[in-house]
Symmetry: C2
Subunit: 136 residues, 2 copies
């Protein structure tokens, strides 16, 4: 499958190494269109070599091409919220991973019936087990 | 006008007093449907007396009823990102206030042509002047 992995960039890069681990696992079985999101050298400034419009247009093209969106939502992010709404609009399946012990997932996301695959986890190993079970 | 004021709740309440000041100003000239967002007693846990689905359904009803969305986007928020995409989908006008000196606005939001009223500001007084000029 082609997977759009969604996670925070300008919202903060505290979880960048976690994103990398999830992407590395997904890449063993699928194609990850957004693998730059796990890049440890990508800071919260984002991809400053591109205009925001170029980033947006590229990301929307990838979102439209994807068979599935996988989002790590623990670090709040405007872009991820936008991407989840866009995936709902174009009816792309979504899998959400969230660490409830860090914070509560947005009511706007958790309360939207379309998002019916929301998995709470604690450790990276837990998250990898979820991905391997749900996206073999 | 009926205004849907969008800002972070579970994404973090560091700016709650700022949201209150913006809402108080808007209320002198307009109806603010989401005035609870400025409530200093509302924590990042959110409105725990309601289910997430009830919060989501109420907020979507307000969003559909609104003439305008005003979003303060400095504190990253999944819910605000979702709401901005939803406003774009139903063609509700959007005004965004962002403090560029704190962080960069999401490329997904800043790069979306529909969001053509994005105002950078520094102080509360600046933000109030923008609201008074744009939403008299």
């Amino acid at each position: 499958m082609k997977i759009y992995f969604a996670a925070s960039i300008r919202g903060g890069r505290n979880d960048a190494s976690l994103y990398q681990a999830l992407i590395d696992d997904l890449k063993t079985r699928h194609t990850v269109l957004t693998e730059h999101i796990g890049n440890p050298n990508l800071t919260a400034d984002g991809q400053i070599q591109l205009t925001d419009q170029a980033i947006r247009d590229r990301d929307i093209d990838w979102l439209k091409a994807a068979d599935m969106v996988v989002a790590e939502t623990t670090n709040p992010s405007l872009g991820v919220g936008y991407e989840l709404a866009y995936a709902e609009k174009i009816k792309t399946p979504v899998l959400i991973l969230h660490r409830d012990q860090v914070n509560h997932l947005s009511a706007m996301i958790n309360g939207t019936g379309y998002f019916d695959k929301i998995f709470s986890y604690q450790t990276v190993a837990d998250a990898l087990a979820i991905l391997q079970r749900e996206l073999p």
